[in-house]
């Protein structure tokens, strides 16, 4: 066991997988000598050589297409898209190409590609560097969308993603990169994909969140516990496809739910959670499903960030509202 930050856990996972499977390749913009703009790939080129860890020309669609071609030649590509806001340039390679290949070719080819990309607000990045675009990605059949909320899951989910034979979009939360530390095993381990985690058990209400919002929800749960309110907190971990069983089991127990996301309200993950509960668990409910989200505007980078992002007190207020409905 060693104490590692969220980003160190990611580097650790990449190092272990590059070391154990020589078909893995890590590439993207500035991932080589520079070790990535956040140092997630720090030291990996020196350790594994330029053949395995390399910089690409600056073109996201090219990076996506390159991944597909390399997968066809038997490699396991781990491309990095420097910021999630840059995926629009390569949406065809993700939505139109790699996620379709297994289906398109009747299972005769597969695409073991893990795209890593940082996202999430609150670190005062420039425009298009902090947007939560997971809702777009979650609509793509054939693509898993995974996002960890802590160092243990970051390492285990990333290793599971790399070892999976289908494309995985692995979202890394910018704000969590260096703000979280935990003791994690030194050896390789996996955390199952498609499986949510009950990170705090409770009986009165289910707070269903992911990524940085899990930590905010845990704080709210702790605060409410002092008043004798027992909130269960669920970390989705895989945003698409959703772990329906864990969500429904929790709501069956608590009878109340709040779905929390950092993204804008429209067509997001929290909407998927709410509609799942409406579709399959409506009779468990004693109150409507609450949602916490950002306003339906473009992400306001810079000064207004903290006013715009869903804060802990908004989660608390919504939780109290649903509890007393």
């Amino acid at each position: 066991m060693s104490k590692k930050t969220y980003i160190q856990a990611i580097t650790d996972a990449l190092r272990l997988e590059l070391g154990s499977d020589d078909r893995t390749l890590l590439f993207g913009e500035d991932v080589g000598k520079n070790g990535g703009v956040f140092r997630a790939t720090d030291g990996l080129q020196a350790e594994f050589g330029e053949d395995r860890v390399f910089d690409t020309p600056l073109a996201e669609s090219g990076i996506g297409g390159l991944s597909i071609g390399l997968a066809l030649e038997g490699f396991r590509p781990i491309p990095e898209i420097q910021f999630l806001g840059f995926i629009f340039e390569t949406l065809d390679s993700i939505a139109g190409q790699m996620s379709r290949e297994r289906f398109r070719m009747g299972g005769t080819r597969h695409m073991p590609i893990t795209i890593r990309s940082p996202y999430g607000g609150g670190t005062h990045t420039p425009e298009m560097h902090a947007d939560s675009l997971e809702g777009y990605l979650a609509q793509i059949p054939g693509l898993r969308v995974v996002t960890p909320s802590n160092p243990y899951d970051a390492k285990g989910l990333l290793i599971a993603s790399i070892r999976n034979n289908d494309p995985v979009f692995f979202l890394e939360n910018l704000k969590l990169y260096r703000s979280m530390k935990a003791d994690i095993p030194d050896e390789a381990y996996t955390v199952p994909l498609d499986k949510a985690a009950v990170v705090r058990e409770g009986t009165d209400i289910s707070l269903i969140a992911y990524s940085a919002q899990v930590n905010q929800s845990l704080k709210v749960a702790e605060k409410l516990a002092k008043e004798g309110i027992s909130a269960e907190v669920i970390d989705l971990r895989t945003l698409s496809p959703l772990d329906e069983e864990t969500i429904l089991k929790s709501v069956e127990k608590t009878g109340r739910a709040v779905a929390i996301q950092e993204a804008q309200r429209q067509a997001g993950i929290a909407a998927n959670v709410a509609s799942l509960i409406a579709e399959k668990g409506a009779l468990y409910l004693s109150a409507p499903v609450g949602r916490v989200y950002a306003p339906d505007t473009v992400y306001p980078f810079g000064l207004a960030e903290d006013d715009w992002l869903p804060a802990e007190d908004e989660i608390e207020a919504k939780t109290r509202e649903i509890l007393t409905y």
Binding site: G62, G64, S67, G69, L70, F75, R102, R104, G106
Partner: protein, 380 residues
């Protein structure tokens, strides 16, 4: 005031620091199309023709006749509603068969939707090509040893993927193997076209990029796609050698492609080829009418320049080919196609449960639930 006037006269008499008109004129001047046998069946490059026996040239002609026959039958089958999506290939036989025949079956083909004849020659059974056209997944189930992807619909997407395949070939240290891909004149306006060439160039990866300039991107003529004088010159900026070739001249296309392949497998990096050809028919059989955007006067010289005419004429003059031989061969090809249609008709009806099973290797909950639901429906 005095100083100002002196400065103006100085400006007037001086040559500009750069002559942009001359630079613009110079671009594209290095791309004289390569030709071996011209439109009148006259041999322009005897040293190239001398490399081939008449029997070999007959095989080349037969490839073009095969493609023309496949086109004619596909056209008819589409009209009868027995094929789905079809992009006519008539006029592009020398461009398509000339280039494809220079490749090896171990090379990786990344085709677009007008490259079905190359895909078939690369190993895809005709009945599977027909199933692809109808939208049956069996048409895209490729055995391990068919080194190709299904026809790409998104213009240019195959170019970036070809760069990846080529880099994979290089990393695998596989000798005597390239990735090759096709697009059209319109495709060269797409961002992926540049990104694919630039990536392959930066990685010095063995790729051959072929642009079939057939004059039109649906209705938009080549001259409206770009201010570049040639499409070949677009590779120059990526540091990639490129060439224009008479796309109605089988041997010219074949020899140029072979040279490009040799250059790539020697470790020199990618090559781009622009073939000058013409789409005799509509863009697809889904309602496109070329009369809306081109004239008979423009079409006729290209029809006269039919790639089959010059090779048929040349080989007939050589006593190596006859109308009777051609008739016999066409009948044989038609019979093969008829058998392929029959085989396609015998394909089982597709099931939603099978679709669901091919989304992921390990089924997540939503897929498992839907498989169960559709199994119940399908067993009724």
């Amino acid at each position: 005031m005095y100083v100002h006037e002196r400065d103006v006269s100085f400006m007037d008499n001086e040559q500009p620091i750069v002559d942009f008109s001359a630079i613009h004129d110079a671009l594209g001047k290095n791309f004289e199309p390569v030709q071996v046998i011209d439109g009148q069946a006259k041999v322009v490059k005897p040293e190239i023709v001398a490399k081939y026996t008449n029997d070999q040239l007959v095989e080349f002609l037969k490839l073009m006749i095969w493609e023309r026959t496949l086109h004619q039958r596909s056209n008819a089958l589409t009209r009868q509603g027995r094929l789905g999506f079809y992009a006519p290939t008539e006029g592009q036989e020398a461009s398509e068969m000339g280039s494809n025949s220079a490749m090896k079956s171990t090379d990786v083909l990344m085709p677009a939707y007008r490259d079905i004849p190359q895909l078939i020659q690369h190993g895809l059974p005709v009945y599977k090509a027909f199933l692809w056209s109808r939208g049956h997944v069996l048409g895209n189930e490729y055995p391990e040893d068919l080194h190709a992807m299904p026809p790409q619909i998104i213009i240019g997407a195959q170019y970036v993927q070809a760069a990846g395949v080529a880099l994979g070939i290089k990393k695998n240290k596989t000798a005597d193997k390239v990735a090759y891909t096709y697009t059209g004149d319109g495709g060269t306006s797409q961002g992926d076209f540049y990104e694919g060439m630039n990536f392959a160039g930066a990685f010095q990866a063995p790729a051959v990029f072929i642009v079939q300039n057939n004059g039109y991107a649906i209705s938009v003529p080549r001259r409206k796609q770009t201010n570049a004088r040639t499409l070949a010159q677009k590779a120059v900026a990526a540091g990639i050698p490129s060439i224009q070739v008479d796309g109605m001249d089988f041997l010219a296309v074949h020899e140029v492609t072979k040279a490009a392949r040799d250059y790539a497998i020697a470790g020199n990096g990618p090559v781009m080829i622009e073939t000058l050809t013409y789409r005799f028919g509509p863009h697809t059989n889904a309602g496109d009418d070329p009369k809306r955007y081109r004239t008979k006067d423009e079409e006729q010289p290209w029809f006269d320049n039919d790639p089959l005419i010059r090779y048929r004429k040349y080989l007939t003059e050589q006593g190596a080919w006859s109308q009777a031989q051609e008739d016999e061969y066409v009948e044989q090809v038609k019979a093969d196609i008829k058998a392929a249609v029959k085989q396609a008709d015998d394909a089982p009806k597709q099931k939603i449960t099978e679709f669901l099973s091919n989304v992921f290797e390990e089924q997540p909950q939503n897929i498992q639930q839907q498989i169960t639901a559709y199994q119940a429906k399908e067993s009724k």
